[in-house]
Symmetry: C3
Subunit: 496 residues, 3 copies
């Protein structure tokens, strides 16, 4: 009887999560932060957005303190104005749940919400993505603001979808509660302490345990297997958090609307980019309807299309379907003046078509308007700090005109590749834990293979050990498979 | 009625602070630390000091634990001996208030006196300049030792002036009290939370506040404007501390005596030197009578006079008057053996005249005698660890003889420059906060301009946005004005 | 009367500690960790060990949690099996006391056992050599496991000796108790606060004390003399800990058995090696019967014999007698894949004879079998992760055959050198504290001299300021004697 109920639940959850939405036109736009602008520019901005030819904006994902400036006191009137203005101009809206940046009052009330590191310290308030995503109080207040926001706007005619959280990770949460969850995670995998002792060789340096609650995990942990498990556990927290958020938003989601996330990549050095070891995009994506990514890359002479291509190929491969480019730059993409290289004429257009060629159904620029104060002042928007339209505005306007005339040919594009590269996040973490190489991360190694093919104009998909479509490919490239289960090795043998 | 009282107070404080003293002879000497020397060398030392031709020493600024070895138990008898011996030899004394290095008993009694960093940690005892200068207990005990010391010696015939504290800064004090003071600092500037929210765009990453006490400040602060304000606030603490000390010492100061401070520069790398962003010399100097500086620079082939010149020009510019060189080296000027480059013959003399040429009315060497144990053992003094006179002693003796014969021509020299460089500490901090350049600090950029003129033998003054003498200059050089008020921009326009 | 008692005690302790054992055959073997191996390989392993020609193993030094998995519950049955199997195969055993890696349950019960750093933080559990060796609870539990282990096996016919602890150091223990012990250490040396104040110039930066308990020691300590004393104190803790362990083991030691330690060297960069500043091998060795060392060095083209030679020469010089090489590598000797350079054919044999040529009476490889999980997975053992014998096994088997045939000529070899190098650990620490050089540590400087002689094939002994055999040498090389007592200077004069 129990088994049947469980089956039923699984089926139910399957029906709720991950249904791919229908896109009937190419989406093109920018992130809009009305609340960041020192003066009330709403009408002027909407006019310029419209005039540029944009048809969509993302809003709200960093805006908790503006929606709920005082605990339990919600202020949406200002956002109603923005939403209505967008609707009036026929600009569609993706609403972000504002949970990745928490308000000061929340942290004053629950200082413990700030994430604790494995070293024992606790993050200080002041930035974003600094909270313990497993903390019950954080979850409680997050749920309330999500429900308030989504309930209010889910039937608003401008809304086409939701982005849950932003660039989600676990931030290596290491509170006592997280450590206790880790023990439960290990219990579920190893069942007994004897099995754990034996499989991970805890006898090494005298670390055998006789009871589960003896297990220490810290940044001093010399047991490579335990560190690797910790990384698996942390990834499971990120996926679990997105699952939890998606379930809430799904309660409000209207027919035709979608849920996405903004996956980011592993930026090991400036603008290099590869698969992300802190969150398993392939796993987490099961809880969203359509994959969203952000794509940041160098411009001027450093632009070679490779980063766009890898990010787009991975994004498309995750659900084997089209995806959304949630964020990319229309001007400079650095946090510091020294890193600012504004694109040459035509480069933004080049990047746009590169993303479309990977299967993007949307391209959005971050942000609409260069930010005057706060942070990220140098990631310049479509219009500059001077509020004037300029080169970037003109170029995106030109692109938008092309989207209008040929967009129907560019949407829902399908791709059939003969080559795939195998991405194993388990091998990636093993390389990290075991310091496989001083020169290259796993991510960089994979990308080396990818780049070699890219330079020969051979297009690729990304597959994982779990993918069930290996036989679609004539060639599978397997970079540094530093850790592999027998199951995976057999699968490789079978493929060969 | 109230307004009149305030005016009166302002006038009063003007009359107390900052009256430039009369110098009737060039001062030449060294720092003397009787208490550091393992044996009683007083008579021998005074004889050598006298014989060298020195006419002044600075004493006492690091000597709290020798003056007050036990809380409330003062021991001045040993210092009486030193003072009397100096007087007998007709050597004048500048007394330092011993507040920049606190005794162990004070920290044992009030551990909280140790400065807390913005990261949340607290300094450990063991060095100097490590206390919270706003701490009431530190202030209480500092005031007592200052009053004990100055009251005892202010009428001593050897005393010509006082140095309050030493190389004063706020040491980035970040205790809860300091953070509360920062909120008050912001209140005074922005008046309302709404104004703060708007001007600094606290909405960015959801950091808007509804009450002042919600404001977090930490080293994780991503809001550039708030970090910049924190730097302004910290500078205000340094100025405020000097104001407080000067007011105490002014109660005892006798006619003809002066108050100075030992301003240091921004030593970003070995011996480079530029304007100091942690304390506003121009602001702090209003509380002292005559500007004092320390000047450390390389010797041997690296000596090019530039550092002496910049430091001297800034020192002269602060009050547009002569200044004192409180510290410079007669031998090596490094803390480590590897950094020791003893000057070639004649270089110390060269440096002396360079400082005089900038308008110095005094040059003192740090220290009289190389220190045998403790720290700073490698900043060698006028005489070596072997207690013997040597090359350095001979050279300063030669200089002293020249001072005796032509000193009256070298004192109170005036300078009339046609070129000035604009130093904006606000722009400097903006460059730091916004990571303007990975290669050069603001300080280094300003110095680049300065050096270029120096190499062409064009002498310069340093001016600030507040200076009222811009029109004295034919050329004003403005380096990287990365942040400027409309007022400043208008002033520049008017000047042009 | 008192004096006589003291003399008597001294004589007694002399008779207990440090009697050099008789070696009647060359020992050759490996470290064996039955408890690290995922499957029960005892019989197969012993067969292979025997077949290789090994005659000795070291066991037990990292195995506390396997001996005492639950507090007070001892499990030796598994180790009985291992011991008996070794004995049956006529393989001798050196038993290690398992105190350098503490079990999880101990730290859960006494979290305070984890070592505190001078910076104020406390080590996290997860590695080894992370406990406060002065902690009473650590000592209590250590003593119990030592007594349990040694009492059980001291009469086992396989046992030839004991290694007390492993690579012992103080780990810079800085708990309040350690700091109080430091004050006692200073009291014993300086007697009065006045003497301390004067000798170390605590007046510098106002740090004079009037009572012993005012003395702060922290990582911020600017007083170079105090920091140097702290280093002496830390070394004394390491020696004291070994003395304490040796005294316990001596209660059980049977005639013919010996006590050793595994001294390691100062590995300042990969595989460079020099004298160890954290523990005074010469001082600590008085509590053991025979010196043991570990020797790690590069292989392939980087192997030049120098490191083996220095380590061996120091080991022989300590007691002016033969020594044991407790650990060296039969394959790769790095913790990371990138550092793995398996030896060329014949190199392991070359290294073996180099050590024997220095006076080694034993060579053991670390470890017998490459470790599958835990840590140190890349320091590959005599047999590989595949459990198969291979190149390394074959080479050590060949060496073992030679040992069998000519071993009697290789044991207890004596050496008569004409040249010695003076190693002063006091000078070494002075160089560290005073940052003598940015380029070279004292250790590296000494090694430069050593290498120069080595390259000319001039063999050397290592002597210390305390050695009483200076006159045995025609040449004494004295590197960077940065700190020396009058006594030492006179001794040098006398020698010359």
């Amino acid at each position: 009887m129990k088994a049947i109920i469980i089956l039923f639940c699984t089926f139910l959850s399957f029906s709720v999560f991950g249904q791919f939405p229908k896109f009937d036109r190419l989406l093109y736009g920018a992130e809009y932060y009305y609340e960041y602008i020192p003066t009330d520019r709403l009408d002027k901005d909407v006019e310029l957005i419209k005039q540029a030819g944009f048809n969509t904006v993302r809003m709200g994902e960093s805006t908790w303190s503006s929606f709920e400036p005082v605990e339990g006191k919600f202020e949406f009137a200002w956002f109603d104005r923005v939403m209505d203005a967008m609707h009036k101009a026929n600009i569609k809206v993706i609403i972000g749940t504002p949970t990745y940046a928490v308000p000061q009052w929340l942290v004053r009330k629950y200082p413990d919400i700030m994430v604790k590191t494995l070293a024992g310290g606790q993050a200080e308030y002041g930035s974003r993505q600094n909270m313990d995503i497993t903390h019950p109080d954080y979850r409680k207040y997050s749920e309330r603001i999500i429900r308030q926001l989504i309930a209010r706007y889910c039937k608003h005619p401008a809304v086409i979808g939701y982005q849950i959280d932003n660039e989600t990770k676990s931030y290596q949460t290491s509170s006592d509660r997280a450590k206790a969850m880790f023990v439960e995670f290990l219990k579920a995998k190893y069942h007994t302490v004897d099995s754990l002792n034996q499989c991970l060789n805890l006898a090494f340096w005298s670390q055998k345990i006789s009871k589960w609650d003896e297990l220490h995990i810290s940044n001093a942990c010399a047991n490579k297997g335990l560190v690797w498990e910790w990384k698996c556990f942390q990834r499971s927290l990120a996926s679990g958090f997105l699952k939890w958020q998606a379930a809430i938003v799904n309660e409000y989601k209207q027919p035709g609307q979608f849920i996405t996330q903004n996956f980011d990549f592993y930026w090991t050095d400036a603008f290099s980019s590869g698969p992300q070891p802190e969150v398993d995009h392939f796993d987490a994506a099961q809880y969203i309807d359509v994959v969203g990514i952000d794509v940041y890359h160098p411009m001027q002479d450093e632009l070679d299309g490779r980063i766009i291509s890898y990010c787009g190929d991975e994004a498309r491969s995750i659900k084997r379907n089209n995806f959304l480019c949630m964020e990319t730059g229309a001007q400079t993409m650095s946090w510091t003046p020294a890193g600012c290289f504004p694109p040459y004429d035509g480069q933004v257009r080049l990047c746009f078509y590169s993303m479309i060629a990977c299967g993007a159904n949307m391209v959005q620029y971050w942000p609409w308007q260069s930010i005057h104060n706060g942070g990220e002042n140098y990631v310049k928007g479509v219009i500059g700090h001077d509020f004037e339209t300029g080169r970037a505005y003109n170029e995106v306007s030109k692109i938008a005109a092309e989207v209008k005339s040929i967009g129907s040919h560019l949407i829902n594009m399908e791709k059939k590749n003969n080559v795939a590269v195998l991405y194993s996040i388990d091998a990636q973490n093993a390389c990290d834990v075991l310091e496989y190489s001083k020169k290259y991360t796993y991510s960089q190694t994979l990308v080396h293979f990818y780049n070699a093919m890219y330079r020969q104009n051979i297009e690729m998909d990304i597959i994982t050990p779990q993918s069930n479509n290996w036989n679609d490919y004539k060639i599978i490239i397997i970079p540094t498979l530093y850790l592999a289960s027998d199951k995976l090795l057999n699968k490789i043998n079978d493929y060969v």
